[in-house]
């Protein structure tokens, strides 16, 4: 008797089609709309400002900054009503930039404000950060591929890696669609997603492998379904507890962690879905059977 008996494999093709379309849309978004890189990767200056004076609002700040010759200045609310985030890419190299801005602001808006955070990233550093971020992601994917390749057979590696790419691309697609800022912490989130997605896939694969040896007569199509069902409670509970923790960060963890936790939440959702609907169908398409596992074992 198996407690859960949902016919997952019946919908493999349908969901693969949907995933295919979503990935296509995501790639188009990434290609044509691109990502909203923060100053970490684009270079420039970021100021988090808190107003103690309710005369100071987005339009007042925008006006004040537009007179300072800083090029395109983006001003937006940041969490609380009185908190603002100001970003610009400055070209010139002015060592007293921040002091000059403060002087100017005080002249136009009075001194009912404070700078809570100032970040300034030069073009050379931002290029390096972007580069090392990309390297980190590529190395992580490579390391996962390697790990699963020594743990399982090649068909499993392909299944897991395709699922990983699926999760990362869709997460980035969502970031592109809603123009959510991509900064250093998003790289950390993506790496964690890679780890999580892998972890989820591996648990099901582990069961598929065990079942391949146990039920020699059952076809892989049916076998993946059995394995997904057997591990389903675990998949759901772990996703649930992880999501509870992440939601808690998202809601209560403050503005700085919001993008990071959002990326992780998306990653966990996509990761859970892909372990079932991407990784497993690939085993079916690659005609994994009892022989695949036993041959490699001996």
């Amino acid at each position: 008797m198996i407690k859960n008996n949902i016919n997952f494999s019946k919908y493999y093709k349908n969901f693969n089609l949907i995933s295919g379309i979503l990935i296509f849309i995501s790639i188009c978004l990434l290609f044509f709309k691109g990502l909203n890189f923060g100053i970490d990767f684009k270079g420039g200056t970021l100021i988090e400002l808190r107003a103690n004076d309710n005369q100071i609002n987005v339009s007042a700040l925008r006006n004040a900054f537009s007179n300072m010759n800083l090029g395109d200045v983006a001003v937006k609310k940041f969490g609380k009503e009185s908190d603002f985030l100001i970003k610009f890419e400055k070209k010139e190299n002015n060592k007293n930039l921040i002091q000059d801005i403060k002087k100017n602001l005080t002249k136009t808006l009075g001194n009912g404000y404070e700078f809570r955070r100032v970040e300034n990233v030069g073009p050379k550093v931002s290029a390096e950060l972007l580069n090392s971020g990309l390297i980190a992601i590529v190395v992580a994917l490579g390391a996962m591929l390697f790990y699963i390749w020594i743990r399982f057979e090649w068909q499993f590696s392909i299944g897991a890696i395709v699922a990983l790419f699926h999760d990362v691309i869709l997460t980035m697609g969502v970031f592109s669609l809603f123009s959510i800022e991509v900064n250093l912490s998003i790289v950390a989130a993506i790496l964690t997603i890679v780890g999580y997605s892998m972890n989820d896939t591996v648990v099901i694969f582990d069961r598929v492998r065990e079942n391949l040896k146990k039920h020699i007569d059952i076809k892989i199509f049916e076998l993946t379904n059995i394995s997904i069902n057997e591990t389903l409670s675990r998949t759901i509970i772990t996703s649930a507890t992880t999501l509870l923790a992440l939601l808690s960060i998202f809601i209560f963890g403050g503005e700085i962690l919001r993008g990071f936790s959002l990326a992780m939440i998306l990653g966990v959702v996509f990761g859970t879905y892909s372990s079932i609907y991407i990784a497993n169908p690939i085993l079916v398409y690659l005609r994994v059977s009892y022989k695949t596992v036993v041959k490699e074992d001996s």
Binding site: R50, R117, V118, N120, K124, V187, L246, S248, F252, G253
Partner: protein, 518 residues
């Protein structure tokens, strides 16, 4: 799998207390340094400034090439070899022409491992300069390691000077580190306005005293320099009378005669001698005091100064005089430094981040705990006990190593809370399955633990891989995230396989006769 010997139980209990103790030591003050350990708060939590400085090595390289060219000329002269057309081109080559019959001789000298003119680094198996010859034209270029060596030594000098400057300002526990071979990281906890320090670190502080030339036109031995306030441009001799290196002290002082803040300085023996001689012979001339290519002031010499001390005036405020004195005391940087990255967090934001981080941790924790009790009842309690101890272990380990906790680090702890129950869930679910096959509960529990082992390990290793890569390739606060995530995996495995398993085993032995334990 479920059996625990007495010694094992004792060891587990002792270890638990050990880590709980270190977790609590964050909140208690001990006099003993050995046990008084605390987690360091990252700059994003306690507020402070992070500055990344990059040294502009071009002037250092040019200076090295000029020195080498002069050395080479004299060295070859000593060996009775005449060369011509000695010049530095494209800021990276030393070029010269030699007589055709000297070519081999010169080349042999330059390739000789025992000669000092082109030193050989045994460690790198490389000379300082690479030599290429086209007929009788020589071209010398710094080799890869020659360049590394040069950059490293200028960085070593720079870091020393930077440290002195930061120490003089007296900030709280600054952290100054080399990064790569041309960068320096300066971390200044608690500093929310780095303006002054940025000004001080951004200055090379190259001080020279030189005569103002009588000729208005620029000649070979003079150069035109601007006053710092931009008021005037004068022609100044290139010959240096004394430089910052000759200074042994500099202090700001109020000169009551002219009612102005000045910087007084005292010179070392060599400097005093030279300064004395110059002021004796140069009465009536203007002496320009030049800092980083700008003239601070150019007073007319009224009388000979042989005491080896003097003062610089230049319309200073007390603050600017203090800063100039500080720069002069700490010495000149070997090359200009640029601030290429700056991150400053005010103390208010840091406090808010700690508050929201802890709130998120608490709520995430409570949610997970309720969820587990709801789902597994008594075994949920066991998993939760393991989870709570896991948190103590994690913070205990971080304290023991005095790790730095950042905001993403707190996020890593919360994430660990969410993912840590996974191992217990895997085990419990497997036990449930085993019970369908095996009627004997003890055997079912045992094989549940056994059969879930590979899945638990796999699941944790994948996360660990991500954490390790992040640790090595991530930067700044993100490193803090990878540390908590990575350490969290080990503490999780410990709490699951020792704490939770021990509790499960104790509970099972007491309630063997009951049906459907899980």
């Amino acid at each position: 799998m479920l059996h625990f010997s007495k010694t094992r139980i004792i060891i587990i209990t002792l270890l638990s207390f050990f880590f709980i103790f270190f977790t609590l030591s964050n909140f208690i003050k001990f006099d003993d340094n050995l046990i008084n350990k605390k987690i360091n708060l990252g700059l994003d939590l306690q507020g402070g400034s992070y500055l990344l400085l990059e040294i502009d090595n071009n002037p250092v390289i040019i200076k090295e090439l000029q020195n080498k060219a002069t050395l080479l000329k004299n060295y070859l002269k000593e060996k009775k070899i005449i060369i011509s057309n000695l010049k530095i081109s494209e800021e990276k080559f030393i070029k010269f022409k030699a007589n055709l019959n000297d070519v081999e001789k010169i080349n042999n000298l330059l390739q000789d491992k025992n000669e000092t003119i082109n030193p050989y680094y045994e460690r790198f198996k490389s000379h300082q300069y690479e030599v290429s010859i086209l007929e009788n034209n020589f071209e010398l270029k710094l080799s890869k390691y020659g360049l590394v060596y040069l950059k490293n030594s200028s960085l070593d000098q720079a870091i020393e000077i930077i440290r002195r400057r930061v120490d003089e300002i007296g900030t709280n526990e600054p952290n100054i580190l080399k990064r790569g071979n041309d960068r320096i990281v300066v971390e200044l906890p608690g500093l929310d306005d780095p303006m002054r320090i940025k000004n001080l670190l951004g200055k090379t502080a190259n001080l020279t005293f030189r005569f103002v030339s009588k000729n208005v036109e620029e000649t070979f031995g003079t150069e035109k320099l601007e006053f710092e306030d931009g008021s005037e441009i004068v022609n100044v001799s290139k010959r240096i009378i004394i430089s910052g290196e000759n200074l042994i002290d500099a202090q700001p002082r109020m000169d009551s005669e002219v009612n102005e803040t000045v910087v007084t300085f005292s010179l070392d023996r060599v400097g005093a001698k030279r300064f004395g001689k110059a002021t004796t012979t140069g009465i009536g001339k203007s002496l320009a005091i030049v800092l980083d290519g700008k003239i601070i002031s150019a007073p007319v010499i009224q009388e000979a100064i042989t005491t080896g001390s003097g003062q610089i005036s230049g319309g200073f405020t007390f603050q600017s005089a203090t800063d100039l004195a500080l720069l002069l005391r700490s010495g000149a940087l070997p090359a200009p430094m640029n601030i290429i990255e700056e991150r400053t967090v005010g103390p208010g934001l840091g406090e808010d981040s700690i508050k929201s981080g802890l709130l998120a941790l608490l709520i995430g924790f409570v949610l997970v705990i309720f969820f587990m009790i709801f789902k597994y009842k008594i075994f949920g309690l066991i998993a939760n006990t393991a989870l709570i101890l896991n948190l103590f272990f994690l913070i205990g380990v971080l304290t023991l190593f005095e790790a730095t906790l950042t905001l993403p680090g707190i996020a890593g702890i919360i994430l660990t809370v969410g993912m840590a129950v996974d191992a217990n869930v895997l085990i419990f679910e497997r036990i449930k399955e085993e019970k369908l096959i095996e009627k004997n509960q003890v055997i079912a529990f045992d094989s549940g633990y056994n059969k879930s082992k590979t899945a638990v390990l796999d699941a944790n290793i994948t996360t660990l891989i991500a954490a390790v890569i992040l640790f090595f390739l991530g930067s700044g606060p993100i490193k803090g995230f990878s540390v908590t995530l990575g350490v969290g995996i080990f503490t999780t495995l410990f709490s699951v396989y020792f704490i939770a398993r021990l509790l499960t085993s104790l509970y099972l032995m007491k309630n063997k006769q009951k049906e459907n334990l899980i």
